[in-house]
């Protein structure tokens, strides 16, 4: 194993987080002049593996070898120094600086006395841009470039460190088809120049196109590493999804749906286009999709936090144009944001205070709070949702994640919102609490409220939803009734 030792080799890597095994005994290798792709569902462990390779996180067990040499990175800067660069999914650039300054940030050519060498800076940048064959002016401000061009600048920055390995973490998530073609061309060139490339993407077609080998991750384990020729989309999806999961578990109970309460008619803005669906009274509707499918933007638009430029949004039979979340809330639309600590709760306040926040204007007379109604509402919610608290005056910050989430749900029930948009309500809660949250959401629907649900895990969505709409790249690509649910069929629509 002297001359043939791979550029990068990961051996028996495991990463443990409290209560979770994010990576389980993963081995992976990359040769020079090879594109090796990583695919897997959200939460399969791709990001964790990349952060371990890149030095952002430390593996719990296992080793990483670079050109046969054992290495340990303490941070991404170490990795860059050892000639391993990463192109991030989100652009990590300074919009106020020029293209050249961004590319060489932290590695600027200097003249004596720490002076800038603008001429050399721009020439070096131009050389790199030429290498990728893109006509971007190095002296332009980065903020003036299109997303695609910024992505290319990001790639140049990775190249500026003269890496042997480049990791692309979903570089195509925000690009359109032409731009993706261009990106793939660039990667192809880099590969021809002898670099090793790790490519992570949700778009299976381009993965199959560009890769030499593909590794499939599921639940933190590697399920397959195969050459791209031996794989096709169908096989990849079934490897990623794994078992056929069984819908109809425990929490679901059949309900009769009522009239349409929310009707989106071809709504669109810069991030999504032509979104149409209707939500019935008592229905739980899931919106499934991978990172970058813009479902988050859609629900924010329904909640008035983003503008809708085209199409019609009809709520309770009346066309609505929400100008702010306040308008949406007035019309009975509630959003439970994924980041409950940041967007959903005031951590330093009590359970009672939090539940009553959205209804303060209803339980006051002449500007004074009616304490008794406050207590009543709180008791009602605590009983309805089985929230475990030591008292109404307990601080929210002392509750477990699951109970905090229930308080968020309780807040909007108390407000009598009848369209509740729940974004990843089980994020960061343990298994037992998950079950209770699903029950709570189920009971919302039983009471005749309608729920739009986003979760990271498709399986969870299939457990509770009446219907699932699938989105990809800002468009709806499929719709499934409960009796048609199949993880594989739904996952296929992710990649349209």
């Amino acid at each position: 194993m002297t001359e043939t030792s791979p550029l990068l080799e990961v051996k028996n890597l495991s990463k443990r987080f409290p209560g979770v095994l994010a990576l389980n005994n993963v081995s992976f290798d990359l040769r020079a002049g090879e594109v090796h792709s990583l695919v897997g569902e959200n939460g399969a462990g791709k990001s964790t593996l990349l952060s371990c390779i890149n030095g952002l996180q430390k593996p719990s067990e296992g080793q990483i070898y670079l050109s046969g040499q054992k290495t340990e990175f303490n941070n991404p800067v170490d990795a860059i120094r050892e000639r391993l660069s990463m192109v991030h999914q989100e652009l990590v650039l300074c919009p106020n600086l020029t293209v050249a300054e961004n590319i060489f940030l932290g590695r600027e050519p200097k003249r004596r006395g720490g002076l800038k060498d603008v001429v050399r800076l721009e020439n070096d940048a131009r050389k790199l841009l030429d290498r990728l064959r893109v006509p971007i002016d190095p002296s332009r401000k980065l903020g003036l470039l299109s997303l695609n061009e910024q992505q290319i600048v990001e790639i140049c920055r990775a190249l500026a460190a003269d890496p042997k390995v480049i990791v692309f973490d979903e570089p195509s998530a925000s690009l359109n088809d032409d731009q993706v073609t261009h990106l793939l061309q660039i990667i192809h060139d880099l590969k021809a120049q002898g670099l090793g490339i790790i490519y992570v993407s949700h778009r299976l077609k381009e993965v199959l196109d560009i890769s030499d080998r593909i590794t499939v991750l599921r639940d933190g384990q590697i399920v397959a590493t195969e050459t791209a020729e031996n794989l096709n989309e169908r096989r990849l999806v079934s490897l990623m999804v794994g078992r056929e999961s069984k819908p109809g578990e425990s929490t679901y109970s059949h309900r009769d749906l009522g009239e349409v309460v929310l009707d989106a008619q071809q709504i669109g803005n810069q991030q999504f286009q032509d979104i149409s669906f209707s939500l019935h009274k008592g229905e739980i509707l899931g919106i499934a999709g991978l990172l970058g499918c813009q479902r988050e933007a859609v629900i924010r638009a329904l909640f008035g936090a983003q503008k809708i430029d085209s199409g019609k949004l009809v709520i309770h039979g009346r066309e609505q144009r929400f100008r702010s979340p306040h308008d949406a809330i007035e019309n009975g639309v509630a959003l439970m944001a994924a980041d409950r600590k940041q967007d959903g709760l005031v951590l330093s306040m009590t359970v009672e205070d939090n539940i009553s926040l959205p209804i303060l204007d209803r339980i006051r007379s002449f500007g004074f709070l009616r304490r008794r109604s406050l207590t009543e509402v709180t008791r009602e919610m605590i009983e309805l949702l089985a929230i475990k608290v030591s008292g109404f005056a307990q601080k929210i910050s002392q509750l477990s994640g699951g109970n905090q989430q229930k308080v968020v749900i309780g807040k909007w029930i108390a407000r009598k919102s009848d369209i509740i948009i729940a974004e990843d309500p089980t994020r960061g809660v343990d298994v037992g609490a998950k079950f209770e949250i699903w029950r709570a959401i189920q009971s919302l629907a039983d009471e005749g409220r309608s729920v739009i649900l986003l979760t990271t895990e498709l399986e969870e969505m299939m457990m509770v939803c009446d219907r699932i709409v699938v989105m990809a790249r800002g468009r709806i690509t499929g719709s499934f009734q409960r009796d048609e649910f199949s993880a594989e069929a739904i996952a296929h629509r992710f990649f349209v």
Binding site: C94, L97, L105, E122, N123
Partner: protein, 343 residues
């Protein structure tokens, strides 16, 4: 095609465009407009004495806004500039007097007048300013205190210390150096203004020509990105506050040399004026955008306008109202412009 001519044309465009941009700068035209209006409405506005006075008034407030600019560029704010300005001079005087006492000299004479060596006072003043700035910077960068809080605390503490150190009485400053800084005029330009312009040139050179200065913009533009490239961002934040402290101290020297005295409550509210000037000069409160040069233009505009209002007999209260309104409008315009650029 060879590379050499390509490079030359590049440099040429850069230079031409910066001169071009200065001419197109609305601030310059606003200054000209104010001067023209002043000349038309008052026979005194363009007298050498009034011009010198206006420039003198520009100097101190302009120096404060230069320091403010360097901090704002990194996406922070420094509310302590005015308090630091006064504090530095007071420390300069008090410490010099103590040194004098050690040497057996009485440098504080009858009527609280300081009669020691001004050079020593100025040196200690500047060192004090830098120290205060660096401490602010350490609090903000390493202890992760929000700069707003950190410098507000510094402001309050220093204002208190100022009274303690002066016992509530002003110190009067005597000495030829103070007279030179405060009163002398070269070709119609007062020394204080020359100090301001020299500082501007140094700062301008630093932020536009050195790699280290470029980091201020990077940090203000995207701190995480800057950190990820391996740049030790904290050091640059401390440096920015240090520069702000130094500028404050210089402002203190210029201002007190003119007044020939230093008093604890001197310059109250100047921090807001400094912010106003920086923002009017196009420095973004969000960080990463702005130029000391335009901050200088803004301070000239500001002083010229206030001077004109004074000549017209508008009372100080209305002048303060004007400062407030100008700040609101400037912040409004800059945030609208940013939104337009983002779209």
């Amino acid at each position: 095609m060879s590379m050499a001519p390509l490079i030359q044309t590049d440099v040429g465009t850069v230079q031409r465009s910066s001169a071009h941009m200065l001419l197109r700068d609305p601030l310059l035209w606003l200054i000209i407009a104010v001067v023209v209006i002043g000349a038309l409405t008052s026979p005194y506005y363009l007298t050498p004495l009034n011009i010198a006075n206006t420039l003198r008034n520009t100097a101190a407030i302009g120096l404060l806004s230069l320091g403010m600019t360097s901090v704002l560029l990194t996406g922070r704010i420094d509310l302590s500039v005015a308090a630091t300005m006064v504090f530095s001079v007071i420390v300069g005087v008090v410490v010099t007097v103590e040194i004098g006492a050690l040497l057996g000299e009485r440098w504080l004479v009858r009527g609280n007048s300081f009669a020691g060596p001004p050079g020593l006072v100025i040196m200690i003043t500047i060192l004090t300013g830098i120290t205060v700035g660096v401490l602010n910077g350490i609090g903000v960068a390493y202890l992760k205190v929000a700069s707003f809080i950190m410098t507000l605390v510094t402001l309050t503490a220093l204002r208190g210390l100022n009274y303690i150190l002066t016992n509530g009485h002003p110190y009067y400053l005597r000495g030829s150096t103070f007279d030179w800084i405060g009163d002398s005029v070269y070709f119609g330009v007062p020394t204080g203004f020359l100090i301001f312009i020299s500082t501007l040139l140094v700062l301008l050179f630093f932020v536009t020509r050195t790699v280290a200065g470029g980091r201020f913009y990077a940090i203000g533009g995207n701190e995480v990105a800057t950190l990820y490239t391996g740049i030790k961002t904290n050091r640059y934040v401390v440096l920015a506050f240090g520069i702000s402290g130094a500028c404050s101290a210089l402002a203190g020297v210029v201002l007190t040399s003119r007044l020939k005295s230093v008093d604890a409550p001197l310059g109250s509210g100047y921090e807001l004026t400094a912010i106003a000037i920086a923002v009017i000069g196009g420095v973004s409160l969000a960080g990463g955008v702005g130029s000391p040069l335009r901050a200088m233009l803004a301070s000239v505009l500001f002083a010229a306008t206030l001077n004109l209002l004074g000549i017209w007999g508008v009372s100080t209260w209305y002048q303060n109202l004007t400062i407030g309104l100008a700040l609101i409008i400037a912040v409004g315009i800059s945030s609208i412009r940013r939104r337009i650029i983002e779209q």
